[in-house]
């Protein structure tokens, strides 16, 4: 039996975009066990419910994460709207869907770039981030912010997207689609990329289910679930099916996210073609929320849960945000078993970790 040793990995490491620490128990070059620890960037956002009222908490929720900030704000607003029992205007539902899908696209493109950087393909990294820049420009044009939009409001949205901007989105999507097809070829067909991804870090469907994996990480292992099917925002008006893979390896995770990029483009086109002409952007809510609700939304990284409990006062009693990376960490540790030490950095990236929103 080879001698066991423990290698500390992170929180500062060239391949890690955010601070997470792993104690890797290795036998020669094989990982036997991975023990995670977090807690380097805990901000205590949930405790702010004592100091910020339920309207102000929308902006706190948005700041949970810099990448999927819009969806955090939307998830919180949807939870409070359920408690109030208000129906938001249809146009606001479509606007939320458009911003949510733009956010998913920029998040997946960011991830693809980081993955390419992780396996040493610098040029591919730059290409992905160059494409992502166009999505960020669209976000800036429509909301005023490149990453943090602050357009959500309890009862709807604060801003509209005028028709000329919707046309610009459609034109940009055509360019972006062509460019993603170019990088897709390299990610999915290049020999060197395949050799780094195929058969590496396999997580079976049973393991993914037992460990509660969420989002593209779970779907790449055959878990057929996508919270957009619950019908929040304008998703009931959109035709789409979750993208599922069965192999459960790093290649399947990459392929799943690339296909989701094309799916988002399709959803955006459908949403823009169906957006109703209305002037109302929000339904005013009266009083304070009273009740509790678990809201589930599909973020770029998977299922996020917003639990809001309110007692009729301006300050909600409890806000709990369960982010997808929080659910995916046990899956990551299982996946790392029996892998080569050299693959660890890449495998951490394949769950698309977002530690700042995990710790909140």
């Amino acid at each position: 039996m080879a001698k066991r040793s423990v290698i500390p990995y992170g929180p500062q490491h060239p391949v890690l975009p955010e601070p997470v620490h792993l104690d890797l128990v290795v036998e020669d070059e094989k990982v036997v066990e991975a023990i995670p620890s977090i807690g380097f960037i805990h901000r205590g956002l949930e405790s702010l419910v004592d100091k910020r009222d339920f309207n102000q908490m929308t902006y706190v929720a948005e700041r949970t994460c810099g990448i999927c900030s819009f969806q955090h704000g939307m998830g919180y607003c949807e939870a409070v709207e359920h408690i109030f029992g208000v129906e938001i205007p249809n146009r606001a539902k479509f606007l939320r869907t458009i911003w949510a899908e733009l956010g998913r696209m920029h998040s997946h493109l960011l991830w693809l770039g980081l993955l390419a950087d992780g396996f040493g393909f610098e040029n591919l990294f730059y290409q992905c981030w160059r494409i992502r820049e166009k999505i960020l420009d669209l976000q800036e044009m429509t909301s005023g912010g490149r990453l943090i939009f602050s357009v959500n409001k309890i009862g709807g949205v604060l801003k509209d997207i005028p028709a000329d901007q919707l046309n610009i989105i459609l034109t940009t999507l055509e360019e972006v689609e062509k460019e993603i097809k170019t990088v897709q070829k390299t990610f999915l067909e290049d020999y060197t990329v395949q050799s780094r991804l195929c058969g590496v870090g396999i997580l079976t469907k049973e393991q993914a289910h037992d460990l509660g994996c969420a989002g593209p990480f779970g779907r790449a292992s055959g878990i057929n679930t996508d919270m957009r099917k619950l019908g929040y925002a304008a998703y009931p008006h959109i035709d789409f099916e979750p993208i599922i893979h069965q192999d459960g390896d790093s290649y399947a995770r990459c392929s799943c996210r690339i296909q989701e990029l094309f799916q988002s483009i399709d959803i955006l086109r459908q949403a823009i073609s169906k957006i109703p002409e209305e002037t109302d952007l929000f339904t005013p809510v009266k009083g304070n929320p009273n009740g509790e609700y678990f809201m589930r939304v599909e973020q770029p990284r998977g299922e996020a849960i917003y639990y809001v409990k309110a007692n009729g006062k301006p300050y909600v009693e409890r806000l709990r945000i369960r982010t997808p990376t929080f659910a995916n960490l046990p899956g990551l540790c299982e996946m790392l078993k029996n892998t080569d030490l050299a693959d660890v950095g890449l495998l951490i990236l394949t769950i698309d970790p977002c530690i700042s929103c995990t710790e909140r």
């Binding site: 807690g39 805990h42 205590g44 679930t225 099917k229 589930r296």
Partner: protein, 134 residues
């Protein structure tokens, strides 16, 4: 138009002594642990264990309400992924949980304050607020 699923969302309050059998039942029935969260309300802990069915999207939350001094068993022996949720409840709220499979000993979030969302901190906050008003 896409098929929209309107799942059942059920919240059941159970006796704390029934926690492990109920969790076992959920696991046997193929539910996935979706989240666990604690809330300190009316001088009691409300602990919610939510389970999801990935096919029907049904969402079932089991809730136990306990006094701050009551100890509860860890469910990590049945569901290993619960380890982070339980460590979080212990560290942020001061919920007493026995035999967590990997106990971070209040070092999951590396915070200096003890149980910032728990009873002691809430009482201190209330006192400070009263003094400020005076």
């Amino acid at each position: 138009m896409a098929e929209v699923i309107h799942p059942e969302e059920i919240l059941v309050e159970i006796d704390p002594s029934n926690l492990l059998p109920k969790i076992m039942e959920m696991k046997k029935n193929g539910y996935r642990l979706s989240q666990i969260c604690a809330a300190y309300i009316a001088e009691q802990f409300e602990l919610s264990y939510s389970f999801a069915d990935d096919t029907t999207y049904q969402y079932i939350t089991l809730r136990i309400v306990i006094d701050p001094d009551t100890e509860i068993p860890s469910i990590t022996e049945l569901i290993p992924q619960a380890v982070f949720y339980e460590n979080e409840m212990k560290e942020l709220f001061g919920v007493k949980i026995q035999m967590i499979s990997m106990d971070y000993e209040n070092r999951l979030y590396r915070i200096k304050q003890t149980a910032p969302l728990g009873p002691q901190s809430k009482n201190e906050d209330a006192k400070t607020e009263k003094n400020n008003k005076k």
